[in-house]
Symmetry: C2
Subunit: 619 residues, 2 copies
């Protein structure tokens, strides 16, 4: 016999029916309340803290809850079993933000300033086109069938492709043709020498053809609304990937996917996150979802597997095999993405289990595949992926960095948008900082953390190991954890960097730096041989390269060799929408790319340990 | 407020809930009881007679019911409105037979003796193949993705096609591969230079690959089960098309389709009829539906439109435009045909609204498209289609003949199977006849009717107009209608030919003969110029050409110029399944074919009127 209890969640006053014996984290997820859980509910990360107000429950002992927290009735949701109707309160810092506020991105924010102008390099040829046709009505002399009549006109007006149509479109064809007096708009999705008729509309709707480019990151998801008639990026939005409730990193997500219904849940959460972004973009730009014909996805292999509901299990098991590298174009409705009902979804192909379409994008956007001289591309996200090469060869590797440069997994972290502290200067106990948009500070973005780490070290406030060493008055003690106070936020709460934050940041920068040094050593290349060093990632406009070098995130090369490209994964998805050249090159790139598995590299661990210092050292 | 009544139908004792005011014919159809209604429920044909046992109803006056019938409480179902719970009894001769009994067809029956041996002309290359692959399991060195691993092996073992896969198959790929230790069977549907992966199965199932060839006629539907590994036709079955409840001819069906839910009903009835045939074939041959990978449909354009649920309306309105001539390959499940869930359905392309894939089949099977000398092909069905031409040109036309040569619309008509009277010799009042299989007689098939008509005329029992003229004792009078008694049937009931049957047969033979003479006159060709005269249709093995000439169905040419080919539409569907050559040629044929619209011909009506005599005359 099943028994159900009611889980009441404050401050939302949401009531969720849960089965007896459910753990609290699963109960919250069931009610679509997503709180951080870096380990995916295994009781390891200690982040899914919840305050229990009322009700009967059992909870496992854990070192992750302080005495003070216990006194406040704070417990780990994943370790707590519901035994009766229960009321809980969500702790604000654990909640995965629902949505970024709606307003246009401005100078200094992510995505704004760096926009890859594909038209300089490639032809404009969108993945999906709308063709307006004015057909002659049939006569006894011109008695072609409806479909052959459309094809004749398409061959004349559009091109001599091998056209295809599906049954639903064939079914609506005769009535649409006659009700619109033989004036119709055909939506066509091109791939190679084939052309798929995806929709037929009465009249001339050819002016309304929009696409969505999506970068699915492990921690954040970004989407752009693109006008497919002129290539203009109308708006970009970004939100956190709610899959973070199932684990911070891809391995935790894959393990969660292996549970009963786990894959289904992860799939659902990511499609709903994308749907929210699309709905927001379409509302803000006053564009009907029906006029959005195409979605292009750029993401790492795990994210793509979860989106398509492909078993990701063998991505984490030796010898690490994805289900596919190149994915078929599908109907967006097949994975629950809500655009036009006849919309198409395409995925940028990926080379390796840990180097997906996001990196294919980065290789093309950075242009390293065409360069004569030796280049390095690094995409700093939850995973740091590195590509070394030029027009002759391309070698890649991947390292797990964690989400802190993306503003997640650190106490006052946030995305690089309005209100994020991005520049910092510390002079003993005095602090000067700048926020994006020069507004009141809300939190700290990735580039801000790099500057803070650098300033703390230069001022002797932390040592080479990143440990707080000074009696600087800005250092406070909270529940036995040292925190350095930057300022007071817009809500009156302190904005701080904690000892745990610093440890995370050092591990993250160390993972990336050591991956770079390992791949170069493996290839017998010296740092100095790298003539162009491209950096991608969700930083704001202001990534201080010098400070990034000084903390040991980037190698010590002449400053002019570095170029910061912004979110190349998203730019790649935009380009894939807009140019056939990009689509062709992407399939060539993945054939050309080779992979070094750091976990099987004899030198990676040594390099990593050397990099866990500021900047890094031979010990 | 809606009111429902119960319609009880004997002898099935079936109870059907019907809304107040429903006509009786619609009520029966709702309960899946299909009775003949040549006009599709318009009160014209007078065939949907039903005996009312009990209950309140209103019925419109009609000249189609005799006084005697009225006394027996027999009414037209389509003209009778249900006003209360009602009980009716079905009159056996109105019921559309459920199914032909299950037993192998034998010599003399339809389909048996004439089998087009495609292997003499074409290469064996089935539309769908199953390829067994033994894949190397992945290693760190050989780390291709699952899908690319399959493709590599297919390219090596099967051919360098552009392979495609859909999302459902991609989703099952990783588990099937690993659970079957990398031994899998891939089902591939080939078209042109593309190859669609339609299914993935564990282990070696390549020996089990079957196809279904279907001829959808207006009156009958025939289907063959084909072994796609060797091209063997395992079994053929045939049944009446239950759409006959919605009208005898295609125009009535189209008009019915224009009613609310009309298209849905016609679509449903035809798919269910096909599903029954498939189920029967698979049971008899002990083959799992899951091993049937492909269905090929050959039929006239209206039948194809109804099957695919395409609006057929514009086929009957000037200038007579089909939705398409060439149809996309679809999933059979999309139209409700139950074979393997991943099964494919293909349609043989058709040239013109009244000359469909059935005639494309006839042109190829007869081989006239390759002939040097002038040929004529006629397919005698509910429509009679005629093609004249050779390797240089192909001209076609179509005439509505009615279903009597298929054993429908005539009192004791039946298909050319066991028990059908197929040969008749009349000597005054003595009759000699032969049935197919030399069994007790059950009814009369098309070739039997041709012989009877011939013998009645030669014996002076009917005159040139087909009117009973003699005092032959075999002529009896039933409800004011003269009938000629052939014999007593297996059930003790008389087997007869009625005056109405004779009128029908003369109109049918006249429609076909005059279509032949009109197309030839239009092209300026004399009968004698036709060097080969091919006849197709659902006759048994014994079509007596001389007698067909003598009644004026066929022109008076030397007997050796005629060749009877059997059901070329079904043979075409079988060939389409089995050889790429046929598939390619079918698309070429429809481009080459031109059409003469008899309804717009200035001489057709005159030719038709001349042909309404035995054999025919200039008047």
């Amino acid at each position: 016999m099943r028994e159900y209890y009611v889980l009441t969640v404050h401050p939302f006053n949401k009531k969720i029916p849960v089965r007896k014996g459910t753990d609290l984290l699963s109960g919250l997820i069931k009610g679509n309340i997503f709180i951080t859980s870096s380990c995916g509910g295994k009781g390891i990360c200690g982040r899914c803290k919840v305050k229990i107000l009322k009700g009967n429950f059992s909870t496992e002992p854990t070192g992750k809850i302080t005495e003070e927290e216990k006194n406040k009735n704070i417990y780990l949701a994943c370790r707590t079993t519901i035994l009766d109707n229960i009321e809980v309160e969500i702790i604000p810092e654990t909640i995965i933000p629902e949505k970024i506020e709606e307003r246009p991105f401005e100078k200094g924010e992510e995505f704004y300033h760096i926009k890859f102008d594909f038209k300089e390099r490639y032809n404009f040829s969108p993945l999906t086109k709308k063709i307006f046709l004015r057909l002659p009505s049939p006569t006894f002399e011109d008695h072609l069938s409806d479909y052959e009549r459309v094809i004749r006109s398409l061959k004349k007006n559009y091109g001599n492709y091998e056209y295809k149509i599906d049954l639903p479109n064939l079914r609506k064809l005769p009535n649409v043709l006659r009700n619109s007096r033989w004036e119709i708009t055909i939506t066509i999705c091109n791939f190679k020498n084939a052309a798929e008729i995806t929709n037929i509309e009465p009249g001339d709707t050819s002016k309304k053809n929009y696409g969505i480019a999506v970068d699915i990151g492990t921690t954040t998801i970004a989407a752009s609304l693109v006008d497919l008639n002129n290539g203009e990026i109308l708006k970009t939005e970004i939100t956190f990937n709610k899959q973070a409730s199932f684990g911070d990193d891809i391995i935790s997500r894959i393990i969660f996917a292996e549970r009963k219904d786990g894959l289904e849940k992860l799939h659902h959460v990511v499609t709903e996150t994308i749907n929210e972004l699309i709905l927001n973009l379409s509302k803000t730009c006053e564009i009907s979802l029906n006029d959005i014909t195409t979605v292009v996805i750029s993401g790492n292999m795990t994210m793509v597997h979860l989106l398509l509901k492909l078993n990701p299990s063998f991505l984490r098991k030796e010898p690490y095999i994805p289900v596919a590298n190149v994915f078929p174009y599908i109907k967006s409705a097949e994975v629950g993405i809500r655009i036009s009902p006849s919309g198409i979804l395409a995925i940028i192909p990926g080379g390796y289990p840990y180097v997906g379409g996001d990196i294919t994008s980065g290789i093309i956007v950075s242009g390293i595949y065409e360069e004569e001289s030796l280049c390095l591309f690094v995409d700093i996200g939850t995973n740091g992926e590195i590509v070394v090469g030029n027009k002759d060869f391309l070698v890649c590797c991947s390292a797990s960095a964690g989400p802190c440069f993306e503003g997640s997994g650190v106490k006052n972290g946030m995305r690089a948008i309005y209100g994020a502290i991005q520049k910092v200067k510390i002079n003993n106990e005095k602090i000067y900082y700048e926020t994006i948009g020069d507004t009141q500070p809300i939190g700290i973005c990735g580039s801000g953390y790099i500057e803070i780490l650098n300033e703390l070290f230069k001022n002797g406030i932390i040592n080479r190991n990143g440990v707080f060493m000074s009696d600087n008055k800005r250092i406070i003690d909270v529940d036995g954890m040292k925190e350095f106070v930057i300022t007071e936020g817009i809500d009156g709460e302190k904005i701080v960097i904690t000892q745990a934050d610093i440890d995370n940041l050092i591990r993250a920068k160390g993972a990336i730096y050591s991956a770079i040094s390992t791949i170069l050593k493996t290839l017998g290349i010296k740092f100095e041989d790298i003539k162009k060093f491209y950096i991608a990632g969700g930083f704001g406009s202001h990534l201080n390269i010098e400070k990034a070098i000084e903390i040991g995130l980037l190698p010590n090369l002449p400053i002019e060799r570095f170029e910061f490209l912004g979110n190349t994964s998203l730019q790649g998805a935009e380009c894939y929408l807009l140019t056939e050249d990009f689509r062709k090159i992407s399939e060539e790139i993945i054939k050309k790319l080779t992979y070094i598995d750091l976990s099987r590299s004899p030198i990676y661990m040594e390099e990593y340990l050397k990099s866990l210092f500021i900047p890094h050292t031979d010990f």
